[in-house]
């Protein structure tokens, strides 16, 4: 799939994400839109996993540590055929298996996450298992930048470098906003790249909405003997003008009118992409 085809797909996935949150009456809008391009590239270009190979011990693993951005993940998994798109309308409903954070009841989900600071340690266990078995798979996790205030991440950052887990990649959805406001005001993590380097990781800083850059950063480990940290600079609420860079859209749910406007904006973006082709 070309970059442009993936970008067109991203528009559709953003529409699904927003519609799902609207239907559920709850969800995490801003962070879902900020990480959507990352997920789109991961599942369509990088991860060696399909609905058919999900049970294979040699599949690539993806654990979403920032579990709250689950609607975007569900949209990507539905698009990849892990379950029907119609299921997205049942997120958060009574007795639905599509809970508001990832659970293994949903096809394609590796681990139950949602409490922050859990994904990276789990992925180290998975990466160690690969190493012990000399198995070829890679392990990926996605963390929020606000999430990095959780101390368990740094326990794990030490361990991943200690064990030289170069088949492990941590992607940071660096949208610089958390529920209270700018991350640098709530609890600054700057300089983020230097921290990860100091912990022994190979670090790449990229535009998290640039398909070529995402593909290049994720296609292979950055450096032999070191885990890879990809700091993806993103825009919270990406793709919808009134949601971009506005903290209240962290878990804001669009009204019917707002959804209509958002979908219209996304349709216009798709049209533009098609015309440019």
């Amino acid at each position: 799939m070309t970059d442009r085809e993936l970008q067109l797909k991203a528009v559709q996935l953003r529409k699904w994400t927003l519609t799902a949150i609207f239907e559920a009456g709850a969800g995490h809008t801003g962070g879902g839109l900020s990480c959507l391009d990352i997920l789109n590239v991961l599942y369509n270009r990088i991860l060696k996993v399909t609905p058919e190979t999900f049970a294979s011990p040699h599949r690539d693993r993806y654990v979403q540590s920032k579990g709250h951005s689950v609607e975007a993940l569900y949209a990507v998994l539905a698009d990849r055929g892990f379950f029907p798109e119609a299921d997205l309308k049942t997120i958060g409903h009574y007795q639905s298996r599509y809970v508001g954070h990832p659970t293994r009841h949903v096809p394609g989900i590796e681990m139950n996450t949602g409490a922050l600071g859990h994904g990276l340690p789990i992925c180290i266990g998975m990466a160690l298992a690969a190493k012990l078995d000399a198995a070829p798979y890679r392990v990926f996790t996605l963390l929020g930048d606000g999430e990095l205030a959780e101390g368990s991440n740094w326990e794990a950052a030490l361990a991943a470098a200690h064990y030289k887990l170069d088949h492990l990649t941590a992607i940071i959805d660096h949208n610089t906003l958390q529920i209270t406001g700018p991350t640098r005001e709530v609890m600054s993590n700057a300089p983020l790249d230097e921290k990860w380097r100091a912990f022994g990781w190979a670090v790449k800083v990229i535009d998290g909405h640039d398909y070529a850059a995402l593909t290049a950063a994720l296609a292979q480990p950055a450096e032999a003997g070191k885990p890879t940290c990809v700091i993806a600079n993103t825009i919270k609420g990406k793709g919808v003008s009134f949601m971009e860079n506005v903290a209240k859209w962290h878990h804001g749910v669009p009204s019917a009118a707002e959804l209509k406007q958002a979908l219209a904006e996304l349709d216009a973006a798709a049209q533009k992409l098609k015309e440019a082709a």
Partner: protein, 334 residues
């Protein structure tokens, strides 16, 4: 050479143990480590995960025998549980081993989410539990662990009383497809069961039968209940001693049977009196409509007295003498 720790048994208790024909085994933790090493030699998917705890977990020989099957995470218990869960989700059978005090407090969220909610076949081993660390004080005691773990869905919770139960708990956990937590102390333990005993998780073992007082005990307190039963026999009382080695799922049938058949029930645990075995038994008995004189013996809701494990047991009546007195007091109640 340091002064020896005070004995867990008074001279009278030692004499009773001899009278009952009890043989001293090794520490349950040693039995655990030896059993795990045996399993690991036959199955390379068995992994020990330690948090600078291989010494206290008696796993140094394991590390030498199976160097490719031990994962050291450093002093980082949250990471220990997360990594254990990740290994379990990727085809390994990991045993995460760390002092119970840290494992079940600092990493409780990882136990709840990464292991139990994610439903991976991980085993967590809380070592030096209860007041095993004695004089090291409250930071190192785990008197909350049964309470918090009981409240978490999807966890089998085993507290072995002797070497036999310890070995069986490890074998059971190694085969389990769901999460298991095993709690060990570190003192040497008397053997309590005949060679033909059958261990099934969730099914209590009756160590001694009787109809006067039922002692329902767990872990390293079972032997003290058994000694108390021996002591009370000399006063003409026939007491039942149940080793409730599995706290979850709880053997409700054995508890109700004991409540119906005995004149009084005393529960015994090396744990706070809130939320542990005692309250679990009380809930079972009440809901079954069994109202007998009942007493929970454990560590009361106070700052635990300073001292060695033996001092703490004696202070709170977790001894042959203390438990005998509690039982007699219950029976003489109007």
């Amino acid at each position: 050479m340091s002064a020896p720790a005070p004995s867990m048994f008074t001279p009278a208790a030692k004499a009773m143990a001899e009278k009952l024909g009890l043989k001293m085994g090794r520490a349950n933790l040693d039995e655990f480590a030896a059993t795990l090493e045996g399993l690991a030699k036959a199955d390379r998917n068995i992994i020990a995960v330690t948090s600078d705890s291989r010494g206290s977990g008696k796993l140094a020989p394991f590390g030498k025998a199976c160097p490719g099957q031990i994962v050291e995470v450093g002093i980082a218990e949250q990471n220990l549980v997360g990594i254990t869960a990740g290994l379990a989700a990727s085809g390994k059978k990991p045993f995460g081993v760390s002092p119970a005090c840290f494992l079940t407090a600092r990493s409780l969220e990882q136990i709840k989410n990464d292991v139990c909610y994610s439903d991976v076949p991980a085993v967590l081993v809380g070592i030096s539990a209860g007041v095993s660390y004695g004089a090291l004080g409250t930071t190192h005691h785990s008197l909350h662990d049964l309470a918090v773990l009981r409240a978490i869905n999807n966890l089998t919770l085993i507290v072995p009383a002797d070497n036999f139960e310890s070995r069986q708990a490890v074998l059971t956990a190694a085969k389990a497809r769901q999460p298991v937590f095993i709690r060990f102390g570190k003192a040497a333990m008397f053997d309590l069961h005949p060679p033909a005993a059958q261990f099934v998780a969730g099914t209590a073992l009756t160590v001694r039968d009787g109809q006067d007082v039922a002692f329902i005990a767990t872990g390293e307190t079972v032997v003290h209940a058994l000694l108390a039963a021996g002591h009370l026999a000399e006063r003409g009382l026939n007491c039942r001693v149940i080793s409730m080695h599995t706290i979850k799922p709880l053997d409700a049938a054995a508890i109700v049977k004991a409540g119906r058949e005995c004149r009084a029930v005393v529960t015994v645990e090396e744990h706070g009196v809130h939320g542990g075995l005692g309250e679990a038994c009380a809930a079972v008995l009440m809901q079954a409509g069994v109202a007998k004189p009942f007493r929970i013996v454990g560590i009361p809701d106070e700052e635990t007295v300073a001292g060695a494990q033996a001092d703490i047991f004696r202070h709170y009546g977790l001894t042959m003498e203390g438990l005998s007195q509690t039982a007699l007091g219950l029976l003489s109640r109007p």
